[in-house]
Amino acid sequence: MTQLVFAKAFRRHVTCPDAVIEQASTVGAAFAGYFELHPAVRSYVLDDAGRIRRHVTLFVDGEQVTHVDALTTPVTPTSTIHVFQALSGG
């Protein structure tokens, strides 16, 4: 049961409640499960090519993960994924 937590910067623009995703083994799988529940959030996290948006920052259990590895980064049933607006691009 991986937990997804969105920073308030997202909540201004799209309804993205924190959620628990069952049976996700990677960040990508956790997002896929989340987007099934909240499809409108997908385009705020991923671009149209399916990549993490350039100015979105991800942490898994407090550790920052880079976009290059993000979607394949393993998660455990007790993991928390934090999704932040990067400070760049402001």
Partner: protein
């Protein structure tokens, strides 16, 4: 009373360098070119201007005749890594190039070292000149710091060094600020660096919020007469230090907002500073469309909102981190916005006079 500052102001803008003299604006050069910062060295009168040509890269020019003519000099250039080590940025995982993306600040050095200047760049490198800005070399001790792999972009894709704060009585002591890489203090002439503590990064998970290398200080301003006292406008709030930038205490409960970019420290009164609030990280405009400067005169315990002469209706001006300056008297202030507005005060901010609303976006203002 004299209505305008009696000192020149350099106004670096998205489309050229301007000078404010006795209430009059003049183009000083580089029309159409982004001038990321400019400073007049008080020791020799030389004006240094940092340019970003976009297509043609970052350049430095200087003038020894008050801006009448300019000389292009060697811009700060990164050496190439020799050990094959590749740093990737922690957000995207892309290699951080050893290449000057922006010259963000230029700071004349200590009075006892006449040729010395410093500059800060994106992607985070600090450079030193010992020949009045003719040539520059990377301060490797900071660039090679093991925490650099944690630095990330704040405002730009790559980290940037925007504040270089000298200590008036010790030329070997400096504090620098990086967005986002924290505040670092050297007391041995840049041989070693200590991270500043006490700041908090609400844009990271709780586990990382206190990590000194992940802080985003937007600007450091030190009181020259009491150099152990300094102020920071941080991405997550406002801070004050009383130990020479080594540790910081948050200032809370300031209306209309504790978010912003710019801060100026009074030159002689360590209890007085000015900030320019914006609504929030997510909404980078003045609260309710009212341009406000906040001022404390009691060390940050209380603040007043200064508005007289500043636009108070549908005024969506943002003031960048180098967009506020105070002169050596502590009475004259200048404020420049990304909407091309410039205001001055000659009474410590009690009253402001609009200079113009028509400049290109203002990136930096500096008394000469």
């Amino acid at each position: 009373m004299h209505p305008h500052p009696n000192q020149d102001v350099l106004l670096s803008t998205r489309k050229g360098l301007f000078r404010l003299r006795d209430g009059q604006l003049d183009l000083l050069g580089f029309l159409g070119v982004q001038v990321s910062n400019a400073v007049r060295d008080p020791r020799d009168g030389r004006i240094h201007a940092a340019l970003d040509h976009g297509h043609f890269g970052c350049k430095l020019q200087y003038s020894d005749d008050d801006g009448a003519t300019w000389v292009e000099t060697d811009a700060p250039a990164y050496p190439q890594p020799t050990n094959g080590e590749v740093h990737v940025d922690p957000v995207r995982g892309e290699p951080v190039e050893w290449s000057t993306k922006l010259i963000w600040t230029i700071e004349p050095g200590h009075a006892s070292r006449p040729g010395e200047l410093w500059c800060g760049t994106i992607p985070g490198g600090m450079f030193r000149s010992t020949d009045r800005g003719e040539t520059w070399s990377l301060v490797e001790s900071l660039w090679d710091h093991p925490t650099r792999s944690q630095w990330f972009g704040g405002g730009f894709d790559d980290p940037g060094l925007h504040s270089i704060s000298l200590h008036p009585s010790d030329p070997d002591t400096l504090a620098v600020g990086l967005s986002a890489g924290g505040v670092w203090v050297t007391r041995d002439g840049t041989r070693s660096w200590a991270p500043a503590t006490g700041m908090n990064a609400p844009y990271t998970p709780p586990e990382e919020a206190g990590n000194p290398a992940m802080q985003d200080p937007h600007r450091i301003a030190r009181c020259p007469a009491a150099p152990e006292v300094a102020w920071v406008q941080h991405h997550g709030g406002m801070y004050r230090s009383t130990d020479g930038c080594s540790s910081w205490t948050e200032i809370t409960g300031v209306d209309p907002s504790t978010f912003g970019f710019a801060v100026a420290a009074h030159p002689t009164d360590p209890d007085t500073a000015w900030f320019v609030p914006a609504a929030s990280d997510e909404v980078r405009v003045p609260v309710d469309g009212r341009v406000v400067v906040t001022r404390t005169r009691d060390g940050g315990a209380t603040f007043e909102q200064l508005t007289d002469g500043l636009p108070q209706h549908n005024a969506w001006h943002l003031v960048y981190r180098h967009g506020l300056d105070v002169d050596a008297s502590g009475e004259q202030l200048v404020l420049g916005s990304t909407s091309g507005g410039v205001w001055t005060s000659i009474d410590g901010g009690d009253h402001w006079t609009e200079v113009t609303n028509d400049l290109p976006p203002v990136l930096a203002v500096r008394f000469t």
